[in-house]
Each structure stands twice: as structure tokens, then as C-alpha cells.
Symmetry: C2
Subunit: 197 residues, 2 copies
DNA sequence: AGAGACCTTGACTGGTTGGTCAGGTCTGCT
DNA sequence: AGCAGACCTGACCAACCAGTCAAGGTCTCT
């Protein structure tokens, strides 16, 4: 049974941990930093989570479901081009809403995905394989230009997540303006042209 | 004056440091790891470089020139679409040849680019601004579809570097196959369609 | 060969960090 | 109020890690 205090503190801790892990990576983050952000003492953190590793795991476990939801939401009955454009829009929206999650994921994969190997090789791969098959059917039905479905999916990931993951770089180049300004229109045009049968 | 031994050992150290920094990030890397990979003792590393930080700096300093060379190589006199396609090809080639450098850079930017702020805000921004102006001229001359030049450049970075930075993920999804297999053809088609006037 | 600069390292240090623990405080229930 | 269990913390520990140093080995040039 979980108490009100437990719920509040676990949430505070995970939120702080997401802040710190996504900005510094697993190894770069310290419990003291997380504790300071969460406004709790370090031993108190370890009262709620067994270890630093456990906090990280908890974040990653939550993450993957949220992360894959847009891909799951593609409707096999819908129009191919429209569905993929909608998927791209949802992914871009996630870079806007959850940039920390995007960076947490990027940090992890960049370092070889040691803690995500099972999930990526399992659920994620399965979902991507299914989506690729779906895209192939759409192509066969003439709803899409004939493109490699895997590279198509990777290109959506690359283009949308780039805005969250490389935010710092884009900001510096664009004089601090919102990195995502104009991104919607650009990606809309890019995928519109790429996918037109 | 630098001796033969100095050249050899500095090279060994930087190569090892690139291995370790690109795989673990700055904070995640340890001098012991780098020493082991380089086949030298830890104090010996510090005989050649003042500090861990100094090794990292040396790598980043080398990196930026190499990294921006393809952008510099765009020829203002050339045909717009052809020049941008050539730029994309060169960038993709760099992901193939220098994946560690790509990941080193990604690690750095992902964490807010603390050690690259000057270079990105300075040289890089200047070069990108000039390139954007050049792209606008090509668009005005009708050699390119009217796209936002900044987002165009970001999209090239995102798509090409993704193959190096997310190598682990792509490998797991594609059953260990070379992540870059088929990437050339896909990106060729993508940018061909995007840029056609 | 011999001098002197250059190169290498085992042993050490001070600071940081993840994690422990004994004992204290608070909360919710009767 | 009083109690049981949940919650919290200062003080501490062991491991790790960047960096130092004194002493000894090696290279190069004459």
C-alpha cells in the first residue's frame, strides 16, 4: 500500500532525477545533485529507491511506453501518407513536451544502450518490424512512394528528436530563439514531398 | 620541439581517449580506462597532458575543424541542389568514417555543450549563417525548392549523424546489420524530392 | 662511453560519491 | 492521548578517482 507522502516524494525524486540524468548522463549525475533539485536529503532518496541505478531504471521503464505510444497509434486502416505524417507530428510534439525524456533516451543509446538492450531488442524491435510491414503494405497499395520503411522510421526519429537532443546547439546558432520555430512547417513539407506516391 | 616518442604517445593517448570519451561521456570516462586502452600507465598519460580535461579539449579542438570542413566545401558557384546533395553525402560519409567523433560531439551537445559554447556560438554559427545566406540565394535563383535554410542544415545533421549516434539502437532493430546499409539511397531520394524546385 | 634530457612508474594523497545505520521525528489510527 | 509504523537525517564508511612526486630507466647526441 502506498501512502500520500510516498506518492508525492517518489514523484519529486523521479522528476529531479530526470532533470539531472538527462542533463548529465547516468555517470555524470550525483545523488547530491538529485537530492538538491528534489529538495530532499540524500539518505531520504535512498529510503524511496534502493540505489541510483534503481532511479534510472524506474525512469527508463516509464519512458519506453510513452515513447512508443505514437508508433502504436498508427492506424492500419488509415491512409498511409496521412498516418505517417500524423506519426511525425506526434513525435515532434513529444520533442516539444518531453525534451528531458528525449535526452535521457539519447544519453542511454549513445553509450550503447547497456540498460535498454532488452527492451530495444524486444518490444521496440517487434513494434518497428510490424510498422515496417504495415508501411510496405501501404506502399504496395500505392498510398506512399516506395521508400525503405526502416530508414523512413529512423528518419522520423532523427529529425524530431534532434530538436530536443541538440537543443543547446540549435539555440546557439539561432540566437536563442525557440529551436522548434518553423520546424513543423519544414518537416511537413519534407515528408509530404518524400512520401507523395 | 617534439620527439618521435611524443608524437607516438600523444597519438595513442588521444585515440584511446576518443574511444573512451565517445563511449562513456566526459564524466563517465576514467583515466584508468584510457590508460588501459592506450597501453600506458596513468601517470604517463598525465606526463603528456596536464589533465583529463586537457585531453578532452585537445579532442574537441581537433574535431570542430574536421566536422565543419564539408560545410566549408560548398561551392557558391555550383548548382544549389547538387551542392547540398554533395554536402549531405560528405556528412554521411563522415558518420561512416568517424562515428566516434560524432558521438563525442553528440555527448557534448547533449549535455549543453559547456565546453563548446564558444566555438558553436562563434565559428560554427558564422559558417551556418553564411551557408544559410548562400542557400537563400540559390532558392532565389530557382535552383532549389523554397525551404528554411536553417532547418535544411539541421535536417542534414540530424539524418546523417543519427546513424553514428544511435548506432546501437539501429543495430538492435536491424538484427546487427550495418546501420548504414541502404542509408545512401534513402537520403538521396529524400533530399532529391525535398529540394526539387 | 658518458652526460643530460627525456620518459616511465609504484606508491601515495585529498576529495568525491554511492550507500549505510542508529536513532530521531512525524502521521494516522484507535 | 498514546502507540505503531512510516518517514527522515547527521554522521559515517569504503570505494573510486584525478592528480602528485620522487626515484629510476631510456634515449640521443657528442
Amino acid at each position: 500500500m502506498t501512502t500520500r507522502i510516498q506518492r508525492r516524494n517518489r514523484r519529486k525524486i523521479l522528476d529531479a532525477a530526470l532533470d539531472v540524468f538527462s542533463a548529465q548522463g547516468f555517470r555524470g549525475a550525483t545523488l547530491d545533485q538529485i537530492a538538491a533539485v528534489a529538495g530532499l536529503s540524500k539518505p531520504n532518496l535512498l529510503y524511496y529507491f534502493d540505489s541510483k541505478e534503481a532511479m534510472h531504471r524506474a525512469l527508463l521503464d516509464d519512458l519506453l511506453d510513452v515513447w512508443l505510444e505514437p508508433l502504436r497509434a498508427m492506424n492500419p486502416e488509415g491512409n498511409g501518407k496521412a498516418e505517417i505524417l500524423a506519426y511525425m507530428r506526434r513525435k515532434l510534439q513529444m520533442s516539444r513536451e518531453f525534451p528531458r525524456e528525449s535526452r535521457l533516451f539519447a544519453n542511454e543509446v549513445l553509450q550503447g544502450a547497456p540498460r535498454l538492450a532488452d527492451e530495444i531488442g524486444g518490444d521496440l524491435k517487434k513494434l518497428v518490424d510490424e510498422s515496417a510491414a504495415l508501411i510496405r503494405r501501404w506502399i504496395a497499395a500505392g498510398q506512399l512512394a516506395p521508400v525503405d520503411p526502416y530508414h523512413l522510421i529512423f528518419s522520423i526519429w532523427a529529425l524530431t528528436q534532434h530538436y530536443a537532443d541538440f537543443d543547446a546547439q540549435i539555440r546557439m546558432i539561432r540566437d536563442g530563439a525557440d529551436p522548434l520555430e518553423g520546424a513543423d512547417a519544414f518537416l511537413e513539407m519534407l515528408f509530404e514531398r518524400l512520401l507523395k506516391p
